[in-house]
């Protein structure tokens, strides 16, 4: 792990923990519960940032995949791989927190609404992404890059196709100022956490490649 990314990783870890505490305080102590939905609405402060992080990380996969195919350098592949894994974790969180909110508010755990369905399809695409990486043999990284590009371009088309199909997800609403601030703090905390996880995961991948290389040298 080079010095700069180590330093950034440590700083982002420290800042992420600070912001997480502030966010938790704001969410559970400061900000008032929503009028109609009550306490369950607070899951929104986790749901939205998790969705943002999954989009961000799949965007990073997209860019890193293009760079990998173009320049054929390992580091872009390591970045794409790390970001894809983290993105899938946060996408899973979105799919878990959504139904927990939906059950009391809509009365059902799941509904085939456009954003839910799009997120589910997104989740399936990136499960496939990690699968092709794992089972593609020594071409795994390259095939992963292809799926990282094709999959990300698919997101807007999936969204529109399913929106025309049907939709009931609440549209973006105007929030009280204290709610906006809480959401922003939560977004910052999640983004810092993402940065920290990403750098750690990339460093781990790099170390793994280095060990593989050393093993081959010994033979």
């Amino acid at each position: 792990m080079n010095k700069l990314s180590d330093l950034v990783s440590r700083i982002s870890a420290a800042l992420a923990s600070v912001f997480t505490f502030v966010a938790l305080y704001a969410i559970f102590i400061v900000v008032p519960p929503e009028q109609k939905m009550g306490i369950i609405q607070k899951i929104f402060y986790f749901h939205v940032p998790a969705a943002w992080i999954s989009f961000l990380s799949f965007g990073v996969v997209f860019v890193a995949s293009i760079l990998y195919l173009w320049k054929q350098e390992e580091r872009y592949d390591q970045l794409a791989h790390a970001s894809g894994e983290i993105g899938l974790v946060f996408c899973t969180l979105v799919l878990i927190t959504g139904p927990i909110w939906g059950r009391p508010v809509w009365g059902v755990w799941w509904t085939w609404d456009s954003r839910l369905t799009t997120t589910l399809v997104l989740w399936l695409i990136y499960v496939a992404y990690l699968m092709v990486r794992a089972y593609g043999g020594n071409r795994g990284p390259r095939y992963g890059a292809v799926l990282g590009i094709v999959g990300f371009l698919d997101v807007p088309i999936v969204y529109f196709s399913i929106r025309w199909w049907r939709t009931i997800h609440p549209p973006p609403v105007t929030l009280a100022p204290s709610m906006v601030v809480t959401l922003l703090i939560s977004l910052v905390a999640f983004t810092l956490l993402y940065l920290c996880l990403l750098l750690q995961r990339v460093a781990q991948e790099r170390m793994k490649d280095e060990i593989d290389w050393l093993k081959r040298q010994e033979r």
């Binding site: 195919l69 399809v121 399936l124 695409i125 496939a128 699968m131 092709v132 089972y135 593609g136 043999g137 071409r139 390259r142 095939y143 890059a145 292809v146 799926l147 590009i149 094709v150 999959g151 371009l153 698919d154 088309i157 999936v158 529109f160 196709s161 399913i162 025309w164 199909w165």
Partner: protein, 225 residues
């Protein structure tokens, strides 16, 4: 002009090998037929529900048959070292892609044409007058499906778990194509005018163009050693 001649030769190679054996198309069509039959056990035949579900079932049959065909398309090349020969020939990788795509597209369209009469028979539908509209939807959807499918088939043919890998990769990506195809086919079967379906056709066209260009550009990274 060299480009068109190359494309014709590549396409003719696939068509000829299929014409000699007819293995792929007959198996795909038979499999599609089986899907139609098996789905009929899921509900009361001839009910209003059946008519409503018809377009979905039809496209499940087309999709599964299509995956079956795509799985074979690079396997034959792989078994007989044909792919290596193609890569050694002085042909642009993009043209290679278009050649394979052309074959897959035509095979799948032919299979759809073979399955459709059975669909009309099983569901008691009179499709004669709707044929032009249905053909348009089928062509646009099949083009999008095979545009991505050909790219992924080239990938999965070189992996260990190939038969499993292709549907795993392809089906999530082609969700918009399937949604659009099912919806527009449903609307056409209900006798709605083509103008109402236009929005879906535009979506299909956008998907087709995007993935034709992207696959054309990426294909070389998939087949190259």
């Amino acid at each position: 002009m060299g480009f068109l001649i190359q494309l014709r030769v590549l396409l003719w190679k696939d068509l000829l090998s299929e014409l000699r054996g007819k293995e792929l198309i007959s198996m795909m069509a038979f499999f599609g037929l089986l899907v139609l039959v098996i789905f009929n056990f899921a509900f009361e035949p001839g009910s209003a529900e059946a008519a409503h579900l018809g377009s979905g079932i039809l496209w499940v049959a087309f999709t599964f048959a299509g995956v079956l065909g795509l799985n074979r398309s690079f396997l034959l090349e792989k078994e007989s070292e044909g792919l290596q020969g193609l890569l050694l020939s002085p042909v642009d990788r993009g043209v290679l892609y278009l050649g394979k795509l052309g074959g897959n597209f035509l095979f799948m369209l032919l299979v759809e044409a073979l399955i459709l009469p059975f669909f009309a028979l099983f569901f008691n539908l009179d499709l004669w007058l709707l044929l032009p509209q249905l053909a348009l939807v089928a062509i646009l959807s099949t083009l999008g499906f095979t545009a991505v499918g050909t790219l992924f088939a080239a990938m999965s043919a070189q992996a260990k778990s190939r038969e499993l890998l292709l549907p795993t990769l392809l089906l999530p990506i082609v969700v918009p194509v399937i949604v659009a195809a099912v919806k527009s086919t449903g609307q056409i079967l209900e006798g709605r005018p083509l103008a109402e379906v236009a929005q879906w056709l535009k979506l299909l066209l956008a998907f087709d163009l995007l993935y034709l260009v992207v696959s054309f550009l990426i294909f070389e990274y998939v087949v190259e050693e």
